[in-house]
Structures are given as structure tokens and as C-alpha cells.
């Protein structure tokens, strides 16, 4: 049991700026592209001009003849070495076939960037174009060209035997109760189709990697990544180098949002470094990054909801089609995650969810903040409002009548331990004065219309395994090593705060170690809102182990029973009920220098969340394992929007976002996550859309693909931090990275609907808004 008291926990609940904030404000922070090594070369990629083609051959002679060029590699040279988290279907460079425009086929290393790019343009690849499929409909049509002829032989961590359609890479089903029976009992049934577009991550730092090889052939890769361990595994799998010969480290990362979870340019940088024997840095341009990396899945969802006249929600059917692009990446997991939230935080008795992920000849879709849930929640929460309208009920009352409560079971059978959902709803309803304002037209300037919308969010934080090591140094300070990468969200700081609190120290007494596969304990990655919750648990376990070892030594020094030793703030242990104390420094000295000291004080934690799904509760098929989802996290959002009746432009006037974080370790950082997540979601809702024409991305730039700037979003984004402590976390904390984004789409769509127009497609661009104003609604028919 962790010894703790409010006094030793002073570091929790503390708004402090990030450990590395000064370094970032002064320009000193080193991101991957800021690093150079002696003799370093620069890499450039050769990208496929075809959406689908067989590679017949290469002519590298002109590229190699360019002065300054040191090496050219192709997929043929690397060979068929597959990598991937869920499906191993991808190689570092295309082998035999290309499957989307922009797919890397070859790479060049040269003395500078300009030479490398010039040489890349001289690499000649002979292709035989193949018919391509750009939409789900085309991909699943009978006789459609197949992207992955070897799909059946790929290694997968889920059951793909349920796939039946051409190019289908996942087909999953979740069944709770009997929807047919459920709908038969309903007085009102609504069925609609909702669509969402491909969103690009636009982490401000484009993908980059620097690789160097030492005398024994060991490759070190510095890269902008969300996980040093996934990077190591991807380099290993794609190049066939043993993991003992790969070291993956991470400088500062300029945002990830899911897009840097799996391989980016690390395998190519490593291959070029191995080939040339010199360090090689590969940095993508913004255009290359947008064309060649990954996106959020475009989705089409048919949703049917049934309720009784009194507003009891009874049955929900949800059919999801996710466009995965040319490679699986995280698609099966993203799709399944979306399905897991298809019922929303409501007590449906009958639910049937069917999901399909499909290969198409476009950029791969992968992990992106929310992991499928932004799509599902947009559809689900839009439909809750639609059925409220059919029932003539206030959407708030309908939600309150049906929300899940602690003790309820989720789709899949997990029991909800705690829920801050009602508290979140109260916060945003009060702050937005919903009860006074909703229901009658809001005052608006001439030529404008205003609406007020509500959404709830449900998500989980957790997944996969994690560990932490805490070591006591000779001066009584500690070193924390977790392997968890900070993408900018502040996890280095928050983990240090938790480590400090676990030992009654100040944050300055904690030395945070940058993740390094040579030295850090395993951590799967910075994804799934998981670091505060999962790594925090590992840190808790490690500090507990350190406490236990120190208590043994303290008992010896203080000549008291071990059970009487207590942790005191300020690096001390004492005898309970007395004023006798001993410092961490003395304890450390004893451990290191005395025969009875027991050796260096090191504590570790190793965590895997395990909460089995219950097949008796819900039937699941074709799914990625969901036994380790973690803790549920809930939120509520209200937004007020203003629509320009002439231009169709939608402005967010004000937004109120309440999220249950269990306990805010660093409240300021939590607010930053809420504000930043909501704004990224506002871009998803109103402007961001990757557009392809014949397989070619037509807007790969920051001027043609619009993310919100400071004028596009209000200053009045009100964040409310709700704290219902989680019993499984040493400090009660849970994650908050994704939920603020998840709510933005539906809350904005519901506010627009409140102003009179239901739009069932994201983004709600001015064109779509104008169409909706003409027709009363916008979207496709069921």
C-alpha cells in the first residue's frame, strides 16, 4: 500500500509550467530537425505517381551520377519485410507494387537536402498502372481490383476470417440483446446516415528521423515519435535488424496526435545510414507529410435509434464503414474502438454494431486523437438530438433520463467503476444557462442565426502495457524513467509530479529521464489518453516499491519496527507518533555503503490493465482484443454558434467543455488539453477535409487545408475540470487528451441544428451550410 497523506502529495493538483517550457520559449529546445551529427547526410524520398501500379524496374544511374549523391535504396533492395501493429502488411519502401499516390518507393542520401531532392527526381521507376479504387463502394464492388493479394497470409492480431468483401480488412460485430425485438417495442425510430471526412494531423513538426550507425553495426534513431519502442519494433521488422542492434531515442516532439504512433521515416533513415555508414537525416516537407503519412478515417455510418414515447432509449443499430486507405496501420483497432462507443453513454437494452474497414488506393488512415470515437460520437450524439426532436423532448432531458451510472455495464460487459458524467453535465448546463436559453430562438445580429447545442462524450484511457523505474540517488533525490514520450501535452511534467507525490518530494527532486530503448523500461506509446492513467499507475507502483525498501532501511536506522515507519514530506521518513526522522539522503547512503543496507534502492512498476469482456453479456466477433481498455472517462460540452445566412460561414461564439479527469495532477495542463482538443475538433467540424481527385490529394498545404487560426475560434472556450477520483490510480487521475476533440463535431452540429438545420456530414463548410439552409438539412439518404 502506498504510504501517502495530503502533505506528501503537495505536487498533485499543482499548476506548474512544463519542465522544458523555458527551453521551448527560448528557441533552445532541440527537435529532430534541429540535430546534426558530424558527416551527416540528408535523405529524400521518391514518391509514387500512381495510385495502383506494379513496379517493373528501376533505373538509378542518373540519380547516382549526380555529384554529392551517396546512396539510393529501393524497396526491392530491402525486400518484403512487413511491419505493422495490428496487421503486418507494410514495408519501409514499396515492394513489387505501389498502392497510393505518394507512397515511398525509393530513397536517396546526399550531402545536402537540395542534392538529395534533385537526385530523387532523377530516380526512374518503371510502372505498369493497375486499375485503382478510391471509394469504399468501388473497393467492395464485385470484381474490384485487389490491393493486397496476400492479405490472407499477413500476420494479424485479430480474427480477419469474418471478412467477406473484396478489399475488406476488418469486419466486426457487437451484439447486445436483440435489436429487432427492441425496435418492435419502440414508439419512435429514427434512422440516418452520417459522414465524416479525412482529417490530417497537422502536427506542426513534420515527420523527421536521424539515424547513425556505430562500429558494431548498431543503429541509433532519433525521431519525432510517439513511442520509442514502437519505432524500435518497426525498424526491426522492416529492416530485419535484431532489436539488440537498434536504439530508439526521442528529442522534443512537435505534436503527434496519433500520427506518429507507428513508423514514419525512421526505417528509411536507418536503411540509408546502414548503407552509407554515415548519419542520415530525413525530414519531410509539409506537402510530403500530408501526401505520404496518414489521416483520420473518412467514415460513413448508418445509425438507427428507437425510443419509447416517455423518452426511454431502447435499441440502437450502428453500421460503420471506415475507409482505411492503402495500408491497415491501426485501422482494425480504430474501427473497433468506434464500435465500442456506438451506443454512447446510454442504457440501451439492445445494440447491434457492425463495422467494416476497407482498403482503398489512398493515403493510409490510422490513429488520430479520438481513435474512431470522433466519428462514432458525431453520429451517435447527432442522432440523440434527432430523436429528442421526434419525441418533442429537450435533448438535455432525454440524455439525463438515459445516461449510464456507476455499476452499469458497457457494451462488452465491463462495469463502470465511477462516473463524473452527471457532474460534467451540471457544469456546462449551468455555465451556459441552458435551461433559460435553450428552446427559444437565441438573439442574433441581423443576417445571422444562433443555436445552442449539447453533446456528451464517453471514452476510455488505458490500453496496453507500461512500466516505470524509480531510483534513489545518493543525495536523496530520485530518477524517474518510464519510456513514455511527451508529445507536448505535458506528460514529463505530470509524471514527475506523480513521482514526487509518491515520495513526498518536490518536483525539482525528480530527475526525469528522456525515453531511450537502451535504458528505459517498456511503454507501448503515448496514445489513447493513456499516459497519466497507465504510466501514472506504473509510477505509483514504482514509488511504492521504493518506499518499501526505504522503510526497511529507515527502520534499521531509527531502531523501530518497519510498520511504524511513515513517509514525511521533504525527503524524510519518521517513526509514527514521534519526532524522530531520517532523511532520504541517509537512507541512500546506508543502502549504498553499509553491509546491512541492502544495496541500491530501485523500485519498478509494471502494468497491464486486465478487465475481461463478458461473452455472456455481449457477443463479439472479428474484433481486436478489448480486455485492457482501462478506465472510462466522460464529459459534456455545450456550444453556441452563429451562422451567417449569406455566406454560410459558421462561427463558434462560446463553448463550455467539462471533462472528468479523476483528479487533475496539473490543472493548467488539463485546461490546455481541453482548449487545444476542442479547437482541433472545431477544425474537424467546420473546415478540415483532405480532398482527393483520382487518387491525388489536391490540398496538401496549409493554405489549401485550413486548420483553425486564432480568428477562427473564440477566446471564450470555457474549460471545467471535474474530479471524480478513479479507484485504480494511485492519485485518482485519468486521461483527458482525446475527449475534448471528440465532442466538438457533434456539439457544433447540434448547435447548428438548433438554429434550424441538421447537417449530417463533417466538415460543415460554408458550401454545405448554404445547401443545408436551402434544403433545411444536408446529408445523404439512408
Amino acid at each position: 500500500m502506498l504510504m501517502k497523506s495530503p502533505k506528501t502529495e503537495a505536487a498533485i493538483g499543482l499548476t506548474m509550467s512544463r519542465l522544458e517550457a523555458l527551453e521551448k520559449a527560448s528557441g533552445a529546445a532541440a527537435f529532430t530537425e534541429d540535430m546534426t551529427l558530424p558527416g551527416m547526410l540528408h535523405g529524400a524520398l521518391v514518391l509514387s505517381p500512381h495510385a495502383h501500379a506494379r513496379i517493373l524496374g528501376y533505373d538509378l544511374s542518373r540519380a547516382l551520377a549526380l555529384p554529392g549523391v551517396k546512396a539510393v535504396i529501393t524497396g526491392a533492395e530491402i525486400g518484403r519485410r512487413y511491419m505493422g501493429l495490428v496487421v503486418k502488411d507494410e514495408t519501409a519502401l514499396a515492394v513489387d507494387k505501389v498502392r497510393y499516390i505518394g507512397e515511398p518507393v525509393a530513397a536517396v542520401a546526399a550531402i545536402d537536402v537540395a542534392t538529395a531532392r534533385a537526385a530523387a527526381a532523377l530516380v526512374e521507376v518503371e510502372y505498369e498502372p493497375l486499375p485503382a479504387v478510391f471509394t469504399i463502394e468501388e473497393a467492395i464492388a464485385e470484381g474490384a481490383p485487389i490491393l493486397h493479394e496476400d492479405f490472407a497470409s499477413y500476420f494479424k492480431i485479430y480474427d480477419a476470417s469474418t471478412c467477406r468483401l473484396p478489399n475488406e480488412l476488418t469486419r466486426s460485430e457487437i451484439i447486445l440483446g436483440d435489436v429487432a425485438k427492441g425496435f418492435a417495442e419502440c414508439d419512435v425510430v429514427v434512422e440516418r446516415v452520417y459522414e465524416t471526412a479525412a482529417q490530417n494531423h497537422i502536427y506542426m513538426e513534420p515527420c523527421a528521423a536521424l539515424a547513425a550507425v556505430d562500429g558494431r553495426g548498431k543503429v541509433t534513431v532519433w525521431s519525432s515519435t510517439q513511442s520509442v519502442f514502437r519505432t524500435q519494433a518497426n525498424v526491426h521488422e522492416s529492416l530485419g535488424i535484431p532489436m539488440a542492434r537498434i536504439r530508439s531515442v526521442v528529442p522534443r516532439v512537435g505534436g503527434g496526435f496519433g500520427g506518429k504512433s507507428e513508423a514514419t521515416v525512421q526505417p528509411v533513415a536507418a536503411a540509408l545510414a546502414l548503407k552509407t555508414g554515415r548519419p542520415v537525416r530525413v525530414v519531410l516537407s509539409r506537402e510530403e507529410d500530408m501526401i505520404t503519412m496518414r489521416a483520420r478515417h473518412p467514415a460513413r455510418m448508418r445509425v438507427k435509434t428507437g425510443a419509447r414515447r416517455d423518452g426511454t432509449l431502447v435499441a440502437r443499430e450502428f453500421e460503420a464503414w471506415f475507409d482505411g486507405g492503402a495500408y491497415a496501420d491501426d485501422s482494425p483497432a480504430v474501427l473497433n474502438f468506434a464500435m465500442f462507443f456506438a451506443g454512447g453513454p446510454y442504457r440501451f437494452e439492445h445494440v447491434r454494431v457492425e463495422g467494416h474497414a476497407i482498403y482503398t488506393n489512398k493515403l493510409r488512415a490510422g490513429a488520430f486523437r479520438g481513435f474512431g470515437n470522433p466519428q462514432a460520437t458525431f453520429a451517435s450524439e447527432s442522432q440523440i438530438d434527432e430523436i429528442a426532436r421526434e419525441l418533442g423532448m429537450d435533448p438535455l432531458e432525454l440524455r439525463l433520463k438515459n445516461i449510464v451510472k456507476p455499476g452499469d455495464r458497457w457494451l462488452g460487459g465491463q462495469t463502470l467503476a465511477t462516473s463524473g458524467l452527471e457532474a460534467c453535465i451540471d457544469k456546462v448546463i449551468d455555465a451556459s444557462r441552458w435551461r433559460e436559453r435553450h428552446g427559444s430562438p437565441l438573439p442574433a445580429p441581423a443576417g445571422k442565426r444562433r443555436g445552442l447545442g449539447l453533446t456528451l462524450t464517453a471514452h476510455v484511457c488505458g490500453f496496453l502495457s507500461t512500466s516505470a523505474i524509480v531510483r534513489l540517488a545518493e543525495d536523496g533525490s530520485v530518477t524517474l524513467n518510464t519510456g513514455a514520450v511527451d508529445l507536448g501535452q505535458g506528460s514529463d511534467t505530470v509524471l514527475s509530479q506523480m513521482c514526487a507525490a509518491g515520495l513526498g518530494l518536490g518536483v525539482d527532486d525528480v530527475n526525469f529521464v528522456a525515453p531511450d530503448t537502451d535504458a528505459s523500461p517498456y511503454n507501448s506509446g503515448t496514445n489513447c489518453s493513456r499516459v497519466t492513467y497507465m504510466v501514472g499507475r506504473a509510477v505509483g507502483e514504482a514509488t511504492q516499491a521504493v518506499q518499501a525498501k526505504m522503510a526497511k532501511i529507515a527502520a534499521r536506522i531509527l531502531e523501530c519496527p518497519e510498520d511504524d515507519v511513515e513517509l514525511l514530506p521533504g525527503g524524510l521518513m519518521g517513526v509514527a507518533g514521534s519526532n524522530r526522522t531520517v532523511s532520504f539522503k541517509e537512507i541512500a547512503a546506508r543502502s549504498l555503503w553499509f553491509a546491512d543496507g541492502g544495496g541500491p534502492v530501485i523500485g519498478s512498476g509494471s502494468i497491464m490493465h486486465n478487465e475481461p469482456l463478458d461473452p455472456k453479456h455481449t457477443l463479439l466477433s472479428g474484433m481486436v482484443s478489448f480486455h485492457n481498455v482501462g478506465a472510462f472517462i466522460f464529459g459534456a460540452q455545450v456550444a453556441e454558434v452563429e451562422i451567417d445566412e449569406v455566406t454560410g460561414k459558421v462561427d463558434i461564439v462560446e463553448a463550455w467543455c467539462a471533462h472528468d479527469v479523476g483528479r487533475a495532477v496539473n490543472p493548467g495542463a488539463v485546461e490546455g488539453q481541453i482548449q487545444g482538443g476542442f479547437v482541433q475538433g472545431a477544425g474537424y467540424a467546420l473546415s478540415e477535409e483532405m480532398l482527393w481527385k483520382g487518387g491525388r490529394l489536391i490540398n496538401p498545404s496549409l493554405s489549401d487545408y485550413k486548420i483553425p487560426c486564432a480568428l477562427d475560434v473564440p477566446y471564450e472556450i470555457r474549460s471545467f475540470v471535474v474530479e471524480v477520483p478513479d479507484p485504480t490510480h494511485p492519485f485518482g487521475a485519468k486521461g483527458v487528451g482525446e475527449p475534448p476533440l471528440i465532442g466538438a463535431g457533434p456539439v457544433i452540429a447540434n448547435a447548428i441544428a438548433d438554429a434550424g438545420f441538421r447537417v449530417r456530414r463533417l466538415p460543415i463548410t460554408p458550401e454545405r451550410m448554404l445547401r443545408a439552409m436551402l434544403n433545411g438539412e444536408d446529408g445523404v439518404d439512408v
Partner: protein, 166 residues
Amino acid sequence: MSDAVLVSLSINDEVRPVAIPIDRTLLDVLREDLRLTGAKRACEAGACGACNVLIDGHTARSCLTLAADLEGCAVRTIEGLAQDGVPSVVQQAFLDAGAIQCGFCMPGMIMSATELLADNPSPTIAEIRTGISGNLCRCSGYVKVIEAIALAARRLAPSRPMAAAS
């Protein structure tokens, strides 16, 4: 390779002669030649502001500025804002307001904020939003950035009543 011209380049109050190809951008000169990597490369097309520097006190996209044109101009980069190792008021306000997340946009953002406050010591929230509208940030949602700039304005002009203070 295009022709190079010899320019005496004034960067952060240090003047140095540099031979610069006429088509080389200031961003490349700073990052590659002078190893001043504070200015960031995020779009190289003038759309994001991550590469912003001050030229004679005005923000400029260093990715769109040809370095060979800068004879006689004073360039200030993020590295040149601190005095004797003490962060500028604007930098400190960004720290204190908790505005910095990944920080990749921040050198450019802080340069824009510095210019904004030099031109307009008491900006309203609306003026701050306009002032940083050429700087894209994907992490912060801008709220704390705006708060940071309002905080810096208050600290720079403590006696003045501030529209942005609320």
C-alpha cells in the same frame, strides 16, 4: 548553385559577413549555416508563422525572405530575445500562462507577440487574436496564448488599465 553575394548580416546584434547564394532563404541561413535552429520549418510556404523572425522590428516569414536582401537590416530571432540569460517579458508570460505545449510554433508565436506589443502596448483580446492570426498552433487552442500576451501587456504597462485584463 546560384551566385553568392557577400552580405554583412546583423543577427541578434552581431554583425557577420556571410556569403549567401541569392536564392537562399533566411530560414536556411539561420538554421543550416548559422545553426540558429529556434526558427522552425513547418510549411516553408508562408502559411504558418513558425519561422517568424523580426526584421527591423517587424515580423517576417524567414522561409519567404531571401537572406541576400538583408544587408543593413537588423534581424532578431527567438534566440536574441533574452537579455543576459533572462527571458523577455513576453517569453516569461508564455511560461507563466502555461501557453507552451509542444512548443514547435512558439518561437514564431513569441516573435509575433513581441511585435504586437511593441506596436500596441494595450491590445484588446480581439487585437491579440488578429495579431497572432498568422501563427498556426495545433496544440493550444490559442486561449492560453492570448492570456500570455495579455499578461505580458499588463506587465509591460502595469499602470495602464487593460482592456484585455479581464
